[in-house]
Structures are given as structure tokens and as C-alpha cells.
Symmetry: C2
Subunit: 338 residues, 2 copies
């Protein structure tokens, strides 16, 4: 999904993030290296007319900058922190695509599909190391700030990897509880977005308690965003989500609608227990989800998660222009324009 065209309060941050990512990535690795070619390609920096369809929307670095600005810091100096978070996110995408055998990402071949899984593992690993080096070398930040930032980033990485491990394990389970689901997406999506917002607050030097408010807002935003993404994976429009409706379904991913459906329908459980998921008919599953009231309940669930996010944002209380832009961004991401 892309931002609405009318949505302009973020423009100055977006263009700053784009330039920062391009310059940090392209100056950090040797010109001719395969590693650089893979990373530049994956991040859409190789195209003559990069746009957010191939670079991604840079939500995480935008959050870091907006939270730095909203909590009173000179946000442009938080550049390395924001880029680091984006590189960690892209490291995880490159490895996820290998693990899920996904062949398309942002409308182009995935790195492993283009260069093979072995080299794609290296591309992800290199992004992981680079994300750290960018922070370590940034003399605009105090030594304390850099060390604490790295700690926040690595805590989030470990959660991210745990979440990804659970996601893969869950593919082999007949059903999981909503608690297990929330634990998994908390790792996969919540932790790094929580790190992104916390890093902005850390940069500004606010109190530890206030820093925690920012982290909790980001974490909750990740949960709400993922719940919404899971819904759109079944009921969304292809042109908005950028992926085929039903993709998650065929890979036996335990998305929220499926988690709820498996809890309620013996028929769905039997269908899922068949050895070959190719026999699953998407329309049949959707029909079961509708018959068992999953549709209504998931809307209710999502409404609550969005409310919680807005409340956490209100606790963090970002100020000024950035505070308004953050509110706009969150509502835009969560489809809550009212």
C-alpha cells in the first residue's frame, strides 16, 4: 500500500530518509562488490527513477525521525539511527523471502530468486553488520547514545528472529491460540517498530519512562498494523496491498483470520490437515470465515488494536509539527482517517 497522494505533512522527512539511505548504503560497501549490487537492488537504489513501490515506504526510519522531532530533538542528527532501523528491516526481509520461498518483493524478483539462496544469505548478513557500523561510526552521537541505541536494536533483532522462528514453526501446527499469534507478531512486527520509535526518544534524551512510552506506542502500532495486514491479505484489494490476496493462505501462514477460523470450524481444520495445501480452495475458506462470524469479530479486534495504538501515541505525546505528522502517519497506516 502507498501513502495517499493528498498526504503531504511527511514530505520533508520522506525525502530526507531517501537521501540518507542511499548515501549511507552506497558509500559503505565497495563499488563493484556483489554484496553492494544485491543490497542496492533489494532496496531499489539501482533504479533510475526509484519510487516507494520498489524502495518500500520507509515507515520505520520515518517513525524514528518523527519521534526524535516530536520529543524535542534535532531530528536531522538522528539520521544514522533511522537508517540503521531500515537496514535491519531489510536484512530480515531478504532472509524471510528465502525462508518463505517468496519470488516477488515490491514487484521485482527477490534477491534469492535472482542470485540464489546462498548469496542472498550473505546480502542479509551484510545488511545486519552495516546497520550496526553506521551507528558505531556516527560521531554526531555521544558514545552513550550509540551504545544504548545498539542495545535497543539488538534486543529488537533477537525478538524479530524469535518471531520469525515461531512463524515458521506455526506453519506445521494444526492451530494456535490468539495469544500465541500475538506473541509471534509482537516479535516479527512489533519489536522493530518499537525500537524505531524508542530510538527517536533516546536520541532526544527524554526520561527513561518517556522513552518507554515511545517504545510501547511503536510496539502497539506494529501489532495493529500486522492485524490489519492479515485482514487485507484475505479481504484487501490487490492494487492497494501489492500482493495477491490469498498468498498467506496458500503458505499455511497462521494469519489472524485463519487462527480464528481454525478455532471455530472443524471443517476448516480438516481442510488444513490435508497434506497438500494446493487442494485448499480460497473461496471455500473465505466462506467458512464468513459463516463463523470471523469477519465481524476480526473487525472488532482490529478496531480495538487501533484504539490502543492511538491511546499509546497519546501517552507518548509528541509535540509540534512532528506530533501532527505522526498522528497523520499512524491514521494513514491504520486506515483510520476519522
Amino acid at each position: 500500500m502507498s501513502f495517499d497522494k493528498s498526504f503531504s505533512s511527511l514530505e520533508v522527512y520522506i525525502s530526507f530518509v531517501r537521501d540518507a539511505i542511499a548515501s549511507e548504503v552506497l558509500t559503505s560497501v565497495n563499488d563493484t562488490d556483489l554484496i553492494r549490487r544485491m543490497i542496492a537492488y533489494h532496496m531499489g537504489l539501482d533504479a533510475s527513477n526509484s519510487n516507494d513501490h520498489i524502495t518500500g515506504k520507509h515507515i520505520r526510519p520515518l517513525l524514528t525521525l518523527l519521534c526524535a522531532d516530536g520529543s524535542g530533538g534535532s531530528w536531522r542528527l538522528a539520521k544514522s539511527l533511522s537508517v540503521a532501523v531500515e537496514l535491519v528491516h531489510n536484512f530480515s526481509l531478504i532472509h524471510d523471502d528465502i525462508q518463505d520461498e517468496s519470488i516477488l518483493r515490491r514487484g521485482r524478483d527477490t534477491v534469492w530468486h535472482k542470485w540464489g539462496a546462498a548469496q542472498a544469505i550473505n546480502a542479509g548478513d551484510a545488511l545486519f553488520a552495516l546497520s550496526h557500523l553506521i551507528v558505531e561510526k556516527d560521531e554526531n552521537l555521544s558514545v552513550e547514545c550509540r551504545l544504548e541505541a545498539l542495545h535497543i536494536i539488538d534486543d529488537a533483532c533477537l525478538s524479530l528472529i524469535s518471531g520469525q522462528t515461531l512463524d515458521l514453526e506455526f506453519e506445521d501446527l494444526d492451530s494456535i491460540s490468539i495469544e500465541q499469534y500475538l506473541n509471534m507478531i509482537g516479535g516479527k512486527t512489533g519489536a522493530l517498530i518499537g525500537a524505531a520509535t524508542e530510538l527517536g526518544a533516546l536520541f532526544s534524551g527524554v526520561s527513561k519512562e518517556h522513552q518507554r512510552n515511545y517504545r510501547e506506542f511503536g510496539y502497539q502500532l506494529g501489532i495493529a498494523y500486522q492485524v490489519r495486514d492479515d485482514m487485507l491479505g484475505i479481504w484487501g484489494e490487490v492494487e492497494k496491498t501489492g500482493k495477491m490476496v490469498g498468498d498467506d493462505f496458500h503458505s499455511r501462514k497462521k494469519t489472524l483470520p485463519i487462527v480464528m477460523g481454525l478455532e471455530r470450524s472443524d471443517k476448516l481444520r480438516r481442510m488444513y490437515n490435508q497434506a497438500n495445501s494446493d487442494h485448499l480452495v480460497f473461496e471455500d475458506v473465505v466462506q467458512i470465515l464468513e459463516e463463523t462470524d470471523v469477519v465481524e469479530d476480526i473487525k472488532h479486534f482490529e478496531f480495538n488494536e487501533v484504539e490502543k495504538t492511538l491511546s499509546k501515541l497519546s501517552n507518548a505525546c509528541p509535540r509540534g509539527y512532528a506530533g501532527q505528522a505522526l498522528d497523520d502517519l499512524v491514521r494513514n497506516l491504520l486506515g483510520r482517517s476519522y
Copy 2:
């Protein structure tokens, strides 16, 4: 290869390293997690009677502690730095085994062969994050020391990954130069061993110049060690190397004997250009290497690399008991007991 039984000057360091690795790894991840099971298994911490055949020899953390001690530091406090280096090494082994499709490591199934490549990617990634967290959390070290240590580690990681990328690329090339070979093993083996020795010196707070001497010694030790390992891969004894002679050869790895042989023999190049390396007969290749004087020249090459290592060690000038133990370790690793 295992240490000689008569080799006892290292015992106190070896037992410290073993305990440190076990306690750091086993307390850092949740008990029931698949990630912990994979990491503990890979590192041989799951066995009731762990020995260096399944845990590895811990050369890198030993070097960190010996260099800390030899440069005047209270070496036991360098624990987290030494463990971090070992975790980075094991992260790279887990990913290398996936990339090379190796099914055995230290006499047991590799992680990917036991749990699948997707989860093995996570196990490696988790070790990468853990290696950093252990340093970040270590309040026995100053903030400056921790940040500088992380910088050294990530620089080495990036070199390591670049070296691994080249190693895989070289499999598809007809031949490479000795310069390209040295560049590749400098990344794959030299960089992290250089980081291990540098971290010991950093910990002791010696001058930047002296710190560089330690790094250069470690880097050169890595080169000499790899050259020797490549020789043993063709002319070594299985019981000493722990791997089948000829393994590297069948995977079309550009080890030093092969690099030299391809430079000298049209016949060997033709054999290598055949589409299917299964047709390569190991004994034929060895015969060519002997006919073209590779055997003599590589011995000469190795002799020089070992001499350079001893000279770099002498520049670093580690003192006291640790200085002697370091000298013993290096001579033991490089088979130079005279």
C-alpha cells in the same frame, strides 16, 4: 584437528572459555525456544560430555583472553569480548554450512540438515544478535570499550561476509589469482581472528599502534592457518583434520593447491571445466599437483606465511605466562614445534 595432549599451558584459559560460553549462551535465550535448542546443539552444549570434537577448539576466544593477558589486562574481565567472537564465528559456520550444503560439522549433522535451511538461517541470525548483546550488557567494561569493541566486531563481520561471498563466486570461475585467493581468505579467516586478537589489546587499553600490532598478528595467523588447512585438505590425515580429504575439491572450492594447479596445468583447467565435478578423480588431480611442482611451492609458501606470523607475534610482544602460552598456541596451530 585437536590440540596435542601434552599441550597444557592453555588449560586454565580453555576451561574458563568453556564455562563462559556455556553460561552466556544458555542464560541468554529462553529455555524452550527452538532457537536455543539449535544454538546449544550446534555449539555442543547439549551433550552430557562435551569435548572439543563437538564444541570446536575455541581458538578465537582463547586468542582474545591470551592477548588481553599478554598485553597487561585482567583477562578474566574480557569474558564477554571473547564469547562474542566465538558466537560470531559460530554464526558464520551455521550460515556457511547452509551455503555449502555441508551435512556434517564436528562429526554431527549440521543445523540446516537437522532442522531445515529456513530455521538454520534464524539460528545464525540469533547468534549474530546475541554476540552483540553480550558485549552491550557487560557493565564490567567501560562504555567506550564496549562501543569500540562492537565496531571492531562489525568491521570483521563485514569482511567475513565479503570473503564468504567471494568464496562462493569463485566456485563458478575457471581460475583465480593468488592475490584474489589471499583477499578471499583474508576476509573469511583473517578478519575475525584479527578482531579476536585486537579485542584483547583493546581491553587492556594499550596504545592504538600496539592494538594494530595485535590485529595484524591475528590477521596473519588467520592467513597462515587457512593456507595450512587448504594443504591438509588434500594431503592431510583424516583423523587429524576431522574431514574427508578431497571434500573441498569436490565442491570446486578454490583452495590454494587448486589455485596454483589451475595456473600451471591446462589439463587441470580442462578437467575443472567439465560441467559435472563428480567426474573429477581426486587421485588424478593430486598427480597433476605433484607433476607441476605445486607440492614443493606450496610448502615454501606456507613456510613464509608461518614466518610472517611469528614475526607479527613478535611485534605484538605479549608478555609473561600468556606470552609463552600464545607462542605455544600459534606453533601448535601452525604445526611449527621447532
